[in-house]
């Protein structure tokens, strides 16, 4: 098998700039998606039946179709209806909304897991809805919600690769360009795997750290 490590070194500047774009988009997108998803989950839980149903449909559409197709339609179809966005803003906004749909479901499961009595206790001492969410629901559901959230963070990182289709010069695009220019496909995939693996490991490690920090208490009963 042809494996020429020099291909990587001779293209290092491009690879690094691609990696940088990937990381920046990912780091903006994930928190945005999480916050947006959280707000949607709150709206669905506390905002009445109509809001719940409406968001249910939006989420079904966002989750139901591949991000590739969504971003393709928005970016290339957008101009036909007068919506012309630049690649990176389009990518960041699109990916945040897409991720929010998944995050909202994760938070929904978290809300449902907190014993009703704990919320009632909050109501009885006069906490407002916002305070109950912030001070009781969020911390209590941490253990349940963190692992899937880390999963989602990882998935969003990998979804950034899709943005190459709207000409965002992120890492996957850069590497596949190097691959097809010099036909160094194997080397390109190797770097790609290594890079994503490293980022995922760091994410997973941060997730564990957060877990041990945030879930020191024990559930003593339901």
């Amino acid at each position: 098998m042809t494996f020429d490590i020099n291909v990587i070194f001779s293209n290092l500047p491009e690879i690094l700039s691609g990696a940088w774009v990937t990381i920046v988009i990912w780091i903006i997108t994930t928190p945005a998606a999480a916050v947006l998803g959280f707000l949607v989950a709150v709206a669905r839980r506390f905002g009445g039946v109509m809001l719940d149903k409406a968001f249910g449909i939006v989420i079904a559409v966002l989750r139901g179709t591949p991000f590739l197709i969504q971003i393709f339609l928005v970016y290339y179809g957008g101009p036909f209806v007068g919506l012309s966005l630049d690649p990176i803003p389009a990518g960041v906004i699109g990916l945040s909304i897409y991720g929010a749909a998944y995050f909202s479901e994760i938070f929904r499961s978290g809300f449902a897991a907190v014993p009703k009595g704990h919320i009632e206790a909050g109501i009885c001492v006069g906490l407002t809805q916002g305070q109950i969410i912030r001070r009781i629901l969020l911390p209590e559901m941490t253990m349940l919600v963190l692992p899937p959230s880390v999963n989602m963070t990882v998935i969003l990182m990998k979804e950034t690769a899709v943005l190459s289709i709207i000409t965002v010069p992120e890492l996957t695009a850069t590497l596949s360009a190097i691959g097809s220019q010099q036909y160094a496909f194997v080397e390109a995939l190797f770097v790609l795997a290594l890079f994503y693996w490293a980022l995922v490991e760091i994410t997973g490690w941060l997730g564990h750290l957060a877990e041990t920090k945030l879930t020191r208490f024990r559930f003593f009963n339901i």
Binding site: F72, Y76, T167, S180, Y183, F185, V186
Partner: protein
């Protein structure tokens, strides 16, 4: 081991390809078709073997070639200097010289030089990109080059009006224009240095006899006029191609 012997023994030549490269290789109404299919059918006859197609996305083609999932890659790809360093190319099967695709009825572009200062789309990391850039240098105002992950997206953006044209090899865009008559038009003539499409194989000793045999078969097909016939069928015209490209322009 000698791959040619293995292929002959098995009676099948496995060919890897991507089926999204019309008119060379594509799915028409569910049928795998294109120049590649016809040409390899002839090559198979010459070698006395059957052809077995393995369709993969382009990302997967070369890892699979290296892993021995098939013997040769149909593609085709533009023969370039860098690619020759890693892989071996067959004799050219068509010209890959570049031309412009524009929106139908766009009167601002009537010859290649008119793209000066305009936004022109091209596939990222393609041989066509290099050609377009070189051509752009010769113009009074440079071309605003937009790179796309694949040509499909650039056509979509041309239709969406984000760009004024797409630069790609003439056989490809001629086919695009013929398929979407009211939408696209080809700007003639082609420009830039001549380049050629070829099929791809491995360089190692094991594959040398096989590649030599394929080369010989293709030259025979070319010599007796079958190649020109196929080119006419698929491109509407035949090309004058060299027997081998040892020193490409790019």
């Amino acid at each position: 081991a000698d791959t040619l012997a293995a292929v002959k023994a098995a009676g099948t030549l496995k060919v890897g390809t991507e089926t999204a490269f019309a008119p060379f290789d594509y799915i028409d109404a569910g049928e795998h078709t294109g120049l590649n299919v016809d040409l390899f059918a002839e090559i198979g006859k010459e070698l006395g073997v059957k052809i077995e197609w393995v369709a993969l996305p382009w990302d997967g083609v070369f890892p699979a070639l290296e892993a021995g999932k098939f013997d040769v890659v149909a593609g085709p790809a533009t023969i370039t200097k860098k690619r020759l360093e890693r892989y071996r190319f067959t004799p050219p099967i068509a010209e890959a010289t570049i031309a412009i695709l524009k929106k139908a009825g766009d009167t601002t572009i009537s010859k290649p030089e008119d793209i000066a200062g305009k936004k022109i789309g091209v596939g990222k990391a393609t041989a066509q990109l290099d050609q377009l850039k070189e051509f752009s240098e010769t113009l009074p105002t440079k071309v605003d080059v937009r790179e796309y992950p694949a040509f499909t997206e650039s056509y979509a953006d041309l239709a969406a009006g984000r760009i004024a044209g797409v630069a790609n090899s003439l056989p490809n865009i001629a086919f695009v224009a013929s398929q979407r008559k009211g939408t696209f038009e080809v700007v003639l003539p082609p420009f830039g240095k001549k380049s050629y499409f070829g099929f791809i194989g491995l360089k190692d000793a094991d594959h040398a006899p096989l590649m030599d045999a394929i080369d010989a078969a293709m030259l025979k097909i070319k010599a007796d006029g079958r190649m020109a016939e196929l080119q006419k069928k698929w491109f509407g015209a035949s090309f004058d191609t060299p027997d081998a490209v040892k020193d490409p322009a790019f």
